[in-house]
């Protein structure tokens, strides 16, 4: 009984000591001087989003959308024009055949 009481008291003292050390550690670390930088990293190589300029991406997106839509409309009207010309030519041929 006495032995177990002694063991519990020892355990409580150790626990209090550990908690105190843990609480003091960040403060101690904060008080230490910063570690020296062992390499320099150029800002251009950083993948952080704030280092990437927004304007070229924004302008690029709008230019690509408008250019893509314009190209498609242009291609569609060219295809439509070519087919309609062929239709008119064949209709003319058939009309001439009919007369002959």
């Amino acid at each position: 009984m006495v032995r177990s009481m002694l063991l519990m008291r020892t355990f409580a003292r150790v626990a209090v000591l550990v908690l105190c050390c843990a609480a003091a550690a960040p403060a101690a670390a904060h008080g230490q001087p910063p570690q020296p930088q062992d390499e320099f990293v150029p800002v251009g190589n950083s993948p952080a989003p704030e280092q990437i300029p927004a304007a070229p991406l924004l302008i690029g997106a709008y230019v690509i959308v408008l250019a893509g839509l314009f190209t498609y409309v242009f291609s569609l009207s060219r295809r439509l024009g070519a087919v309609q010309r062929d239709v008119e030519r064949l209709e003319g041929d058939l009309r001439r055949k009919g007369r002959a």
Partner: protein, 218 residues
């Protein structure tokens, strides 16, 4: 072209001229800054990219059921618009993501299912171009898969873990951000209708040309 085509084309052109002014006047987003404004063209493109495979799939289902060439032509036109608007969505999205997420692409459910939807659109067009006789029905079957993928693309951001914004951001937009967005949505919807009309007219002209060639040879 139908009577409404020219006024609608002029209105659509004006809307695309006015839209950059509205977008420029809209405020920047707090976390993403100016690059967020890609959203005003990205999201309407993405909605048309969801609408086109639905039109293609429903028209293909009607074509398989009734066998009418009008349904097949509508499906073919919509498949081409799937590829067009899919390309615009899949290009503008990474441009936005590069700044907002710090990466061009992530293999999450939204982006991957969108890429699959775009590839199904390409599969339809390749089948129609090189499939030979009978490819119309085979392509119609592919279009059904493309349409079935649409709800999956839409809900993917709400059900799976992703860094893509969820669908709930649209109804929660403040007025000064919502007005330019809905303006662009209507401009893209009008453009979609105009392009569908033009593309359908091309298919009708091609069918007429085929009939004339047959008559010419006889």
């Amino acid at each position: 072209m139908p009577k409404w085509f020219s006024p609608a084309a002029i209105l659509c052109g004006l809307m695309f001229v006015v839209s950059p002014v509205l977008i420029a006047r809209a405020p920047d987003e707090a976390a993403m800054g100016m690059v967020y404004k890609i959203y005003y063209y990205h999201m309407p493109s993405a909605w048309m990219f969801l609408l086109a495979p639905l039109v293609c799939g429903v028209s293909s289902a009607f074509f398989l059921a009734r066998g009418r060439p009008e349904d097949d032509r509508r499906a073919w036109a919509a498949a081409e618009l799937t590829v067009l608007f899919g390309a615009l969505t899949l290009i503008t999205g990474p441009l936005w993501a590069r700044r907002a997420w710090g990466t061009w692409w992530v293999w999450d459910a939204r982006l991957t299912s969108s890429l699959v939807g775009w590839m199904i659109g390409w599969a339809y067009l390749i089948l129609r171009r090189y499939g030979g006789p009978g490819s119309d029905k085979l392509a119609a079957g592919v279009a059904l898969f493309g349409a079935a993928n649409v709800p999956f693309i839409y809900i993917s951001v709400n059900y799976w873990r992703t860094i893509h914004p969820p669908t709930t951001v649209v109804p929660r937009l403040p007025v000064d951000m919502g007005v330019p967005l809905w303006f662009c949505v209507f401009a893209f919807l009008l453009l979609f209708m105009l392009l569908m009309t033009m593309r359908l007219r091309l298919e009708v002209a091609r069918a007429r040309l085929d009939a004339l060639y047959v008559a010419h040879d006889e």
